[in-house]
């Protein structure tokens, strides 16, 4: 069978009719453990002499179908599903780094990732330097002898900074370390980071992959191109590991030692595995990913066009707009679209933002993105409410910044809903004018010292 195209892989990769029952859909293997044929079979599975399932924390047939499908869609060699996107990030880092090592990361990160790197991992001896994602010189300058990983998001938070993956990967590889990217906002339908030079990709599958706001999950995928032996900087993968029968992972697999260790150590010891029920729900989502993403993008373009022309809107940060600092890069890297999550600035202060939200009815006010339903949040009155205007500006957020996640509804209905909110915001802005507040036109360079709070 030929290696199929994206839409076909989204339905078939990693899953065939169930050999035991003939079930066409992937069954949910709701079991903790799997019976051994005999004692020799048991020992062989434990020692990686045979492939198979032992215990669902380490692997599970439903979860494996999800993993293999994601690896196929990303063009990788394999994947490991995790309990959440954050668990995927942690698994990647904990497999490659230990105390005394260092990460260079984009400052334009999801708040939870920033917290993990800035606060939590420091407690375990892993240090991170944050750099503005567009500042390639800063990436280079931040690398230390103990740097083991470069990390960024394909589309950064909150201004949709487009990561120049090829350039950052080149810097990483010149220093013999891999580049890890969070591809949650783009999904493999919009961008395949391995083709641009990334080495590891992870997703919060909770978002567009699942697509229906029902399921928390994550996945880390290995591109298989990074040569850990040639790097010479990863003894965890190239020297005998006492914790698994003295195994040298790079001898066992020339292209995927990372995945072997991440599963045999990371899932075994940290245990942040994906539940088979969740894997099944995520598979259901992935089957329609191409259809949904096309609609997400179409709707987003309609909404962006509407907002740009509206008098109550001061600016819109979407990389398909010529005003966005990464417009040219986005044209090159994201020709199918720049995702369905973006921010815009209302004229007026926080009260205008509140009024806007209060007068929406279709958009759900909550802290998530990537749902089939459209979502909205006003950072200045929720996730970043403790910040004053100056601190918000440092984080690239204005008092009137609104973040939208565009869903799959009829775009005209969404526009009607936005009109109601904008009208209310406009009234409030007029009452409070003249405002001293002036927001940047779009996506300012992120200040690496800014500390976003946690929100998906």
């Amino acid at each position: 069978m030929p290696v199929n195209r994206f839409d076909t892989l989204a339905l078939h990769a990693g899953a065939a009719p169930d050999p035991a029952t003939g079930a066409r859909a992937t069954p949910i293997y709701q079991t903790t453990s799997f019976v051994f044929r005999d004692t020799d079979h048991a020992a062989a599975l434990f020692n990686m002499e045979r492939a198979g399932h032992v215990y669902s924390r380490i692997s599970n047939p439903t979860v494996a179908a999800f993993e293999e499908r994601m690896a196929a869609l990303e063009g990788g060699v394999g994947a490991i599903a995790t309990a959440s996107g954050q668990a995927a990030l942690h698994l990647a880092i904990a497999t490659l780094l230990g105390a005394g090592s260092h990460i260079v990361a984009s400052a334009a990160l999801y708040g939870g990732s920033h917290n993990l790197l800035h606060y939590t991992l420091r407690r375990f001896g892993i240090d991170t330097t944050f750099v503005a994602p567009r500042d390639l010189a800063a990436w280079r300058a931040a690398i230390r002898p103990n740097t083991r990983l470069l990390f960024g998001e394909t589309l950064g938070n909150p201004g949709l900074d487009v990561l120049d993956i090829a350039q950052v990967a080149e810097i990483a590889h010149a220093h013999r370390v891999p580049l890890l990217v969070d591809s949650t906002f783009t999904t493999p339908w919009l961008m395949q980071p391995f083709e641009l030079g990334a080495d590891l990709v992870y997703h919060s599958a909770t978002k567009f992959l699942g697509g229906h706001g029902t399921t928390i999950g994550g996945v880390v995928i290995d591109g298989g191109r990074f040569d850990f032996e040639a790097s010479g900087r990863f003894p965890e993968l190239t020297e005998p590991y006492d914790g698994f029968h003295g195994m040298v992972f790079s001898e066992e697999s020339t292209v995927a030692p990372f995945l072997l260790r991440a599963r045999r150590e990371g899932l075994r010891d940290f245990g942040a595995c994906l539940h088979p029920q969740a894997a099944w729900q995520l598979l259901q989502g992935i089957e329609t990913l191409p259809l949904r993403m096309a609609r997400h993008i179409d709707n987003t373009r309609r909404i962006v066009e509407f907002l740009v022309a509206h008098g109550a809107v001061e600016s819109v940060a979407y990389p398909e707009l010529p005003s966005h600092p990464d417009y040219a890069l986005a044209q090159r890297l994201l020709p199918k679209g720049c995702g369905a999550v973006f921010s815009f600035n209302l004229k007026g202060d926080r009260s205008a933002g509140r009024q806007f939200i209060e007068n929406l009815s279709l958009f759900s006010h909550l802290a998530n993105v990537g749902d089939a339903r459209s979502l909205v949040i006003h950072p200045a009155s929720t996730t970043h409410f403790r910040m004053n205007a100056a601190a918000l500006a440092q984080a690239g957020i204005a008092e009137g910044t609104i973040r939208l996640s565009i869903g799959l509804e009829d775009p005209d209905d969404l526009i009607d809903d936005l009109k109601r909110g904008l009208k209310a915001a406009q009234k409030t802005a007029q009452k409070t004018a003249p405002s001293a507040h002036k927001t940047p036109p779009s996506a300012p360079d992120v200040n690496p010292s800014a500390k976003p709070e946690v929100t998906p």
């Binding site: 990693g14 293999e68 060699v77 191109r225 292209v255």
Partner: protein
């Protein structure tokens, strides 16, 4: 384990266990633009079940960094030199695709060194189309795509290789790219040209005097079932044991059906080792 042959490193994976004196040796030989890791789901089991394992990286492939050899016979000579370096008097040879030709030729020319033979996804003649040869020479990425497509019969083999969660097509593609990256001197074309030029198949088959197992994929497009008949017939004519195992797989038999491939290889190897031991005793 690294050996040194004529000043060059020669790597053989030992299955995660150091060789032990007195045990029979199984040598695993990979195919074109591959390395030892294609045998991951067979070699480790052998090594922990009574065999010493030498799963080689052929010259020019991965850790054996000398130039790739351009003739099947030369690859066999290299293999014998490796057995000499390892202190192995006699071994079972297990070869996949191009590796099966190396095993066949070596068994014919060095009959005292080979106790048994397993030819996995074999064919004779092992003709490579002009289109593929040209692509291997001038458009290697295209050639790798073609091979990857033709080598697999499914996009959902279970339990996947080398374990759950791996995407076989991606793994195979990256492995072939990695071999090219480590040694950019046209390894794929050199390997294919060696297969294409090998003309001693029937002559070698007529000289085989050890038990031989054919392991063939029912859905193999690269070396289809019918292409193994001439070798099988010629070897059987010598009066030696010839067994055939048909497996529901494409050319990438070891990856698509790792357990079944292991089981037929191990059963055969164990039987032959027991017979040899009985004779020796």
């Amino acid at each position: 384990m690294i050996f040194h042959l004529a000043g060059h490193p020669a790597y053989a994976y030992t299955g995660g266990r150091a060789p032990t004196a007195g045990l029979p040796t199984a040598v695993f030989i990979h195919g074109a633009q591959h390395d030892h890791s294609v045998w991951a789901m067979q070699t480790r089991y052998f090594a922990h079940h009574g065999f010493n394992v030498l799963a080689v990286d052929l010259p020019g492939h991965a850790r054996s960094t000398q130039a790739a050899l351009s003739e099947i016979g030369a690859m066999g000579d290299w293999l014998i030199a490796l057995l000499d370096a390892a202190g192995v008097e006699r071994a079972m040879l297990i070869g996949h695709s191009m590796g099966s030709l190396i095993a066949l030729d070596t068994a014919a020319r060095y009959p005292k060194r080979v106790s048994a033979l397993a030819l996995v996804a074999t064919a004779y003649p092992m003709q490579v189309s002009d289109v593929l040869l040209d692509a291997a020479l001038n458009r290697e990425a295209d050639a790798i795509d073609m091979i990857n497509t033709w080598s697999h019969s499914t996009i959902a083999a279970k339990p996947s290789f080398p374990g759950p969660g791996f995407w076989m097509h991606g793994s195979n593609q990256r492995l072939m790219e990695r071999i090219a990256q480590i040694n950019p001197k046209q390894v794929l074309h050199t390997d294919f040209a060696a297969c294409n030029a090998y003309s001693r198949g029937l002559e070698a088959a007529a000289q085989i005097c050890c038990p031989t197992l054919f392991v063939l994929g029912r859905r193999d497009q690269m070396t289809p079932l019918r292409a193994a008949i001439s070798l099988s017939t010629a070897i059987a004519a010598n009066g030696v044991v010839v067994e055939t195992a048909l497996i529901d797989a494409g050319h990438a038999i070891m990856a698509e059906q790792p357990d079944e491939t292991l089981d037929v290889l191990f059963t055969f190897a164990k039987e032959q080792a027991a017979k040899a031991s009985g004779i020796a005793g």
